[in-house]
């Protein structure tokens, strides 16, 4: 099974490079969040003012379990993602803000969906990425919902 001292040497090597990786990633994440992300307090202020659309990038199953009140779901991994975006684009551009979110800062779906929304024509100035995500919103006790009627009305109505 090998020598204990060799395991120790390998572990030290891994920890050494891990520190570099961690501090590089940490610095990069802070920079990215400051550049693109919006804090939960700012998002809540926007929510209270109204005239905004929240877009949930998670799967429909996660959305159904609970989402920010009033949010619509455009699951990033759905085969119909582009259909949803096309159907929602008019509504999204009519709002003052479009806030995209997913689970939290360790989830990249909101950033990827935001890119797709930009490519589809959502105004860059209106688009905000709520990096802290649904979990932080829920922890703060801000309004959440399990209601699917708005989602169904928005996309089903467009299909008729």
């Amino acid at each position: 099974m090998g020598k204990v001292e060799n395991y120790f040497k390998i572990l030290v090597l891994i920890l050494f490079f891990s520190f570099f990786a961690y501090f590089t990633l940490f610095a990069e994440r802070n920079k990215t969040e400051k550049k693109n992300g919006v804090s939960v307090e700012k998002v809540y202020e926007i929510y209270k003012k109204g005239a905004c659309f929240f877009v949930d990038a998670r799967s429909f199953e996660e959305y159904r379990k609970g989402h920010i009140e009033g949010a619509i779901n455009i699951p990033f991994h759905s085969d119909r993602k582009n259909d949803y975006i096309v159907k929602a684009i008019e509504f999204l551009n009519g709002a003052d803000y479009v806030v995209v979110y997913c689970d939290g800062s360790s989830c990249g779906l909101s950033k990827m969906l935001a890119k797709d929304l930009l490519n589809a024509g959502v105004n860059k100035e209106k688009l905000l990425i709520f990096t802290e995500g649904y979990e932080v919103w829920k922890e703060k006790g801000y309004p959440i919902s399990k209601d699917l009627s708005f989602q169904k009305a928005l996309f089903l109505q467009q299909e008729q």
Binding site: M1, Y7, A21, Y22, S105, C107
Partner: protein, 99 residues
């Protein structure tokens, strides 16, 4: 996992894979590297199996970019890796003893 541990843990796991991979490739500390790689793959197998059984949505994080959620083929892939590591080690061991 608590949010504050995600980044350090991700750094550690990613670096472990890279460091162990290179050490194994160049035959440095062969047995120890092989054991650690097998353990790492076993941890992945158990973690993925647990996520699949519990129905956890993994469309975020590590698997977000490729657009696929976890399935048993990911577990099978890691089992194949374990088999290949054992094959290389046994090959090196019996290859050396033959010469």
């Amino acid at each position: 996992m608590p949010q504050f541990l995600v980044l350090p843990f991700a750094s550690f796991i990613t670096v472990s894979e890279i460091v162990l991979g290179f050490l194994f490739l160049f035959g440095v500390y062969e047995i120890e590297t092989a054991v650690l790689l097998i353990l790492l793959n076993l941890v992945f197998v158990f973690a993925m199996g647990s996520a699949i059984i519990r129905g956890i949505d993994t469309s975020c994080g590590c698997f977000a970019a490729n657009g696929e959620t976890l399935s048993f083929k990911d577990i099978l892939r890691d089992l194949v890796f374990i088999f290949l590591i054992l094959w290389v080690i046994l090959g090196r061991k019996y290859g050396k003893s033959d010469s």
